[in-house]
């Protein structure tokens, strides 16, 4: 199938993009990597009157040090760059660990960090990663200027996030990494590159039982990416991994799909927790 007609507008800078969204509101859709939007356009699942191309906006594809000391990752940073960038490896290694799990090389060349976060697919890798890293999303609109939202408040439902139609996601900041912080990512998919049945991101620092901080976030385990607080608390307090796995199974509410029942997903999530915990504990 081919897209229905629309008006294509190439934004030459951020201000221009915000003007176009302010003018057209609900009738306009931003186009980032196009790796989710083009399929939706081709299948005519969406029929925007105006498509606002973000690909030529300078600066939106940069990774910089944020004022807070963490990393400021532009919305149009491509999946591929997050897999290879030295600053990401040094300051947010979880993102480099998760990137190769996203789709296939040709899709990672174009797909973007911001596009994935704005799409808010509960089975996608980036939303769960920014939850695990306690990131902050930065949005901008012509009418209201810049607005910051904690990742924990951003993902509201299935493909639903805290973004208004006139707003652009301009980037995401992740806090500076503690020197002893360790992370791991793992998922189960039917075939490499397919959306995961379940995936898990873990970030830990300190000694379990002595003020350790552990954060666990899951994808594919509910209508939104979610944080597993109970399981993380067990691990931080030095509890047994099996007790943490039981806590995890009890606190998540995955939906069954064509291939995996909800019960199977709980089982896989527990397995991913054991696996990734071994990695961060022994690191």
């Amino acid at each position: 199938m081919k897209p229905a007609p629309f008006r294509y507008e190439r934004a030459h800078d951020l201000q221009h993009a915000l003007e176009l969204l302010a003018e057209h509101g609900d009738d306009a859709l931003p186009l980032a990597g196009g790796q989710s939007l083009l399929p939706m356009l081709n299948l005519r699942l969406v029929r925007p009157a105006v498509v606002v191309d973000l690909n030529r906006i300078e600066g939106l594809g940069d990774i910089r040090t944020a004022a807070s000391g963490g990393l400021a990752i532009g919305a149009r940073v491509r999946h591929r760059l997050l897999a290879t960038d030295p600053a990401v490896r040094a300051h947010a290694p979880l993102l480099a660990q998760a990137a190769p799990w996203i789709a296939h090389p040709a899709i990672r060349h174009r797909g973007t960090f911001g596009g994935s976060l704005a799409l808010a697919d509960p089975a996608a890798e980036w939303p769960a990663c920014v939850l695990a890293l306690e990131g902050t999303l930065v949005l901008a609109s012509r009418a209201r200027g810049e607005r910051r939202v904690a990742a924990a408040d951003f993902f509201r439902g299935l493909y639903d996030c805290d973004r208004e139609p006139d707003e652009l996601l301009v980037g995401c900041e992740v806090p500076a990494r503690a020197a002893d912080s360790r992370s791991a990512f793992a998922e189960v998919a039917r075939r490499h590159g397919d959306y995961a049945a379940v995936g898990l991101a873990i970030v830990a620092r300190g000694m379990p039982g002595r003020g350790a901080h552990v954060r666990v976030a899951l994808l594919g385990a509910g209508d939104t990416p979610c944080v597993a607080r109970a399981a993380a608390t067990v691990l931080a307090e030095g509890g047994d991994i099996e007790a943490a796995a039981r806590a995890l199974v009890a606190e998540i509410e995955p939906r069954g799909d064509l291939w995996y029942s909800a019960q199977a997903k709980r089982h896989l999530a527990a397995h991913l927790l054991r696996d990734t915990w071994r990695t961060v504990r022994d690191a």
């Binding site: 007609p5 294509y8 083009l38 399929p39 081709n42 690909n55 040709a106 490499h192």
Partner: protein
């Protein structure tokens, strides 16, 4: 009769480089790059299998990177350097070695998927001269073949890699 009110078709003039030649095109803004290459430039080596990103038959290079041409608008390629299987097979030694190995190992039957597999495999060999079978499978995971069952494709990529690193003479 459709009840949906559609905006009128809008056309745009673009210039880009395709297979080493500058070209000027007039395209509907909604047209994806694959259709522009096939229908406006006659480059029918770029195939369309699914038009939603899952099969890889439409793989081309844009500014050197393998991408899905069904997931990019032609207007987005303005000013870019596009290379299709036609151009790559004329000029790129890695692509030529892969094509020869695909023939020798019977890595194609209908051939519909082949241009996409060759361009995806060429990118892999550009990054890693001697990939494992597992690495080849992962790199080609986004390309579907309905005929071969993949074994022969992985064989062909391995063979091309060996030949390019001179550990095996051409037949």
């Amino acid at each position: 009769m459709s009840a949906v009110r559609e905006p009128p078709e809008r056309w745009r003039d673009i210039e880009l480089e395709v297979n080493g030649e500058r070209c000027a095109l007039r395209v509907p803004e909604r047209e994806h790059l694959a259709d522009a290459l096939r229908h406006r430039l006659g480059l029918t080596g770029t195939h369309l299998g699914c038009e939603h990103g899952v099969c890889g038959a439409c793989t081309v290079r844009v500014d050197g990177d393998a991408v899905r041409s069904c997931l990019m608008l032609a207007v987005q390629a303005e000013g870019c350097r596009v290379e299709t299987i036609e151009g790559a097979s004329a000029r790129d030694a890695v692509v030529q070695a892969l094509q020869a190995a695909f023939v020798e190992r019977n890595a194609l039957q209908c051939g519909y998927c082949t241009p996409g597999f060759v361009l995806a495999a060429a990118e892999l060999l550009g990054e890693c001269a001697a990939p494992s079978r597992e690495a080849i499978r992962v790199a080609l995971s986004g390309n579907l073949c309905r005929c071969t069952g993949y074994q022969a494709i992985v064989d062909a990529v391995e063979q091309a890699a060996r030949r390019l690193s001179n550990s095996e003479p051409p037949r």
